[in-house]
């Protein structure tokens, strides 16, 4: 593709990523981004030390929230904007990588189209989290390695390891790609010195944060929500990364079966034909999937589908290559009629029913309390989870408290994946027993789901004794709502 056409495609991608950018309210993770980013700089870093992610992305969101103010709609726009831009840039970067490995034109076009309309890419382009940002640095470093721009590769990898912990897995993939790139000169000491410097500097620069990361891991030990990766979880993750969100059930079966067949055929043919440049692409497509699975088996479950986002461009280039090799035009278009609807239906589904979940429940709680609130009332959150969304959409002037750890729970026995005690302290959350707070009436906000602990639910069950003032959800997975009591 010519640079001009690629730029046009990139702008189309940007348009798709900006379209309905603020249609869905900020969901839990995004509200967390907003809350920590709205803190003074030092408090933000302190809050992040109790979380699970490195701080680089939050430097951008900190600036964004300080530009936008705390109006939820303006904040949603400014916080999601960087993700949309970095995600659109990934389309251009995919082309740069394709050019570097001299990938066939047809494969390049197919990969760029898939990157542009991928529902998975658009989802993370419209999320105020660091995944599009991480993808940008992975692709930049990968391209720099292929093009032997070692300084750029070093800087990109420093940014990468400070963006997301999955960056470490991508570093391994990038290292293997670099070794392959330099395979002809590996007997030369200078090559090893250069590679040592290119990969050593990011690791050295990351070491100060490594101490923080080990501290973070110790905080969340035994309290993380990710389950061990089963074969089904891995297949499901790869499918989602490639083709996006779940379709309606009968289509889902066909598309998963088709996607599996497509990937197997593409990889088989790739190994058989070994086109120029296929090894680095296969490394970037496979290593970030395989490594977290191995680490999950030998250490602790950490396999998370959204961390695989930066493997998608390589997988699209591989699928595109297989598609481009189909010699008969009628069969090539046949393949298009199978794959295109999956992605387009996924994209339309995404825009129509944006599944950034859970906030509707919270908005119901906010509106119910707002309508009934009187001077002297307080809000008592049994779990910190509801406080995160409340910070974005609720009235910040209403006094709020969180229930402390019940004496029946062990220290650290808290909601899986919830805010750690460290982060709660940094955000100024007040944890006080209800009988120690002066109030007229109390709105007890109850949110109990799969990640809640039974010792909390049992101990605080008396707070939901009676009819709820507002019931958000009472299902097989969640009980959430508000109970109102007079003092």
């Amino acid at each position: 593709m010519t640079r001009k056409n690629v730029l046009i495609t990139t702008f189309i991608a940007l348009g798709l990523r900006m379209f309905l950018l603020i249609n869905a309210p900020l969901w839990y993770d995004e509200s967390f981004t907003a809350w920590v980013s709205a803190q003074p700089f030092g408090a933000m870093i302190d809050a992040l030390m109790g979380d699970t992610h490195p701080p680089l992305y939050y430097l951008i969101t900190w600036a964004m929230v300080h530009i936008s103010g705390t109006n939820p709609v303006r904040m949603a726009f400014w916080l999601r904007l960087p993700s949309a831009i970095f995600s659109a840039a990934a389309v251009y970067q995919t082309w740069m990588i394709s050019q570097s490995v001299r990938w066939p034109k047809r494969a390049e076009i197919a990969a760029l189209v898939m990157m542009t309309i991928s529902p998975f890419q658009v989802f993370y382009a419209q999320e105020a989290r660091m995944y599009a940002f991480m993808q940008f640095f992975v692709l930049l470093a990968f391209w720099a390695i292929l093009d032997r721009r070692w300084k750029l590769a070093t800087v990109s990898m420093i940014a990468l390891v400070y963006t997301q912990n999955y960056g470490l897995f991508y570093m391994v993939a990038l290292g293997l790609a670099a070794l392959y790139r330099e395979r002809a000169a590996l007997r030369n000491t200078g090559t090893w010195l250069r590679l040592g410097l290119v990969f050593g500097l990011p690791i050295l620069t990351w070491l100060p944060w490594a101490w923080v990361m080990f501290y973070q891991m110790s905080i969340i030990e035994g309290g993380y929500w990710i389950t061990p990766p089963t074969a089904g979880a891995v297949i499901s993750a790869v499918y989602m990364v490639l083709f996006g969100l779940a379709q309606a059930e009968p289509i889902h079966i066909l598309t998963v079966v088709g996607a599996v067949a497509l990937l197997i055929l593409a990889f088989l043919r790739l190994i058989q034909k070994r086109p120029q440049g296929f090894v680095p692409l296969a490394i970037l497509g496979a290593v970030p999937v395989i490594l977290p699975v191995i680490v999950s088996w030998v250490w602790s479950p950490i396999f998370l589908y959204r961390g695989l986002i930066a493997a998608a461009p390589a997988l699209y280039l591989i699928i595109g290559w297989w598609w481009g090799r189909i010699s008969k035009p009628v069969l090539r278009w046949y393949a298009v009629t199978l794959v295109a609807p999956v992605m387009l239906v996924g994209l339309v589904n995404y825009y129509a029913h944006n599944p950034k979940g859970g906030t509707d429940r919270l908005l119901g709680v906010v509106n119910a309390i707002r309508a009934e609130y009187q001077e002297g009332d307080i809000i008592y959150h049994v779990d910190a989870g509801s406080m995160v969304g409340w910070w974005t959409y609720g009235d910040k002037e209403i006094p709020q408290f969180k229930a402390p750890l019940p004496p029946t729970c062990q220290p650290g026995e808290e909601t899986l994946g919830g805010l750690s005690a460290h982060t709660r302290r940094a955000l100024g959350i007040r944890e006080v027993p209800l009988d120690e707070i002066r109030h007229n009436r109390v709105f007890v906000v109850w949110g109990q789901g799969p990640t809640s602990r039974s010792c909390w639910a049992d101990y605080y069950a008396y707070l939901i004794d009676g009819e709820p003032f507002h019931l958000s959800e009472d299902s097989r997975y969640v009980l959430s709502g508000v109970w109102l009591y007079d003092n």
Binding site: V257, G449, P450
Partner: protein
């Protein structure tokens, strides 16, 4: 953990069982395809003309099934 956690694990296990079935269906599809081509190359199948019909029936039958399902799902929803 609470019973909500157990319900969640059950739903994950059900998802795994379903998607693993789909995975093996995909593998079977590839194997059938490869076997057909291998037999065809070895001349162990029918005449070239009949092989072409079988191939077309597989391709366009699959396409009809695919689009039929999409349209059916769309109408049903």
């Amino acid at each position: 953990m609470t019973h909500y956690f157990d319900a969640w694990l059950e739903s994950l296990a059900a998802r795994d069982a379903t998607i693993e079935k789909m995975f093996w269906m995909g593998v079977s599809l590839v194997l059938t395809w490869l076997l057909f081509h291998w037999l065809e190359r070895k001349g162990l199948l029918f005449s070239k003309k009949v092989n072409g019909w079988i191939m077309s029936a597989m391709l366009w039958g699959g396409q009809a099934l695919y689009w039929g399902t999409i349209i059916y799902t769309w109408i049903e929803s």
